[in-house]
Amino acid sequence: MSAQDAIIEVDGRRIECPPGATVLSALEQAGLDVPSGCRAGTCKKCMVQADGPAPAAAQRGLRAQLADQGFFLACQACPADPPAQATVRLRDPRGPAPVSAHVNGIDAVAPDVARIFLTVEAELPYRPGQYVDVLHPSGATRSYSLASLPEDGRLEMHVRRVPNGQVSGWLHGLDPGDELRLRGPFGLCYYVDDAPAQRLLLIGAGTGLAPLVGIARSALACGHTGPIDLVHGGLTPERLYLRDELGALAEQHPSLRVHHCVLRDATEREHQGALDEVALRVAGPLAETRAYLCGDDAIVRTLQRGLFLAGLPSGEIHADPFEPARPAGAPG
């Protein structure tokens, strides 16, 4: 190796990256299989995640959450070229190691929804709205988004009991003090404070409320000045939960407005109709708006499409797919 080579550390290997070479070409040269497409920084197929500092020039055009988590485009990174970065460490493709957690409390908040609080002994640096994978003793895993803020000192998840659901049924039966294991955090659906005056439009169905609560609370904690519209949808009024708590939060923060939407049996407290239609109606003009969408895959797709066709730029629509298609090099 010459003095000018940079080093790429990946999965216990050290790969030399000579001047002029990209991280993508160096990884390929070393026989690693990295997906790639345009090789010009446009298609984003070769995105990898750094563990530590990422080559900043290779983060151009990525959304703030990706850059914030060290993602960069392997085809655009030339770490040996000035300004040289001696070492680029890539995140372990197996993802973070599981950590142990204890149940701190379980509240039934709706007929089939429990709010579960967990304390984690190890460090789990997360951003509200990200999710963790809960590991069932059988090996099955399920993803749950976090409604809490790190300063709460405990994680908060909202778990709907799925009929015959192995993991959700088990979680509902846990008692305070019980131990479980989880892995994370994952996901890009969280608040970043790059545009504090923007209007935030948070739309979710069912337990999709959990990440929205996390995002709203973290935006308020960061001093977000723009209005925040939170729209929670459910089948009927009794399926909507945490209403008192959301009402109290809105009272404390006049910039936060909470809207409820049901498909049927609406009272004067709810809008009635399909969530995407109601959300677009209460949202009004979409200029200077950033949207976060949470819920099952079908509703998120419908919302995404509705907002996009109504004129919201695709770059302002944030949603984690229910079964996340993780970017290349991201934890699998």
């Binding site: 497409g37 345009c38 010009a40 446009t42 055009g61 995404q304 066709l309 695709s314 629509i317």
Partner: protein, 120 residues
Amino acid sequence: MSLYERLGGEPAFTAAVDEFYRRMLLDERVAHFFADVDMQGQIAKQKAFLTFVTGGPAEYTGEDMRTAHAHLKSRGIDDEHVDVVIEHLGATLIGLGASQDDVAEVAQLAESVRADVLGR
């Protein structure tokens, strides 16, 4: 100077690809092909395509295009659908400030992709 640069480069194309994709979703002749795709992923791919056909920084391999569209063959993708895409491509570029001559040039380049998309 490439058409890509003349039309404003990366920032202009970020907005233009949204417009291009909106046109496709609203056109019932092709919308059904996009019913179940991941929107953000599709927009990234189309941005690479728009960048390529206007001479911007994107490499293109016919093989990629072939693989990406193979599953649409059984769903009846045909010449008329490629025509629709080229039509929206032209309208999007005009919206960005391209001339008719520019559009004709781009259409010619897009034609070269037709056989790959249709798996011929």
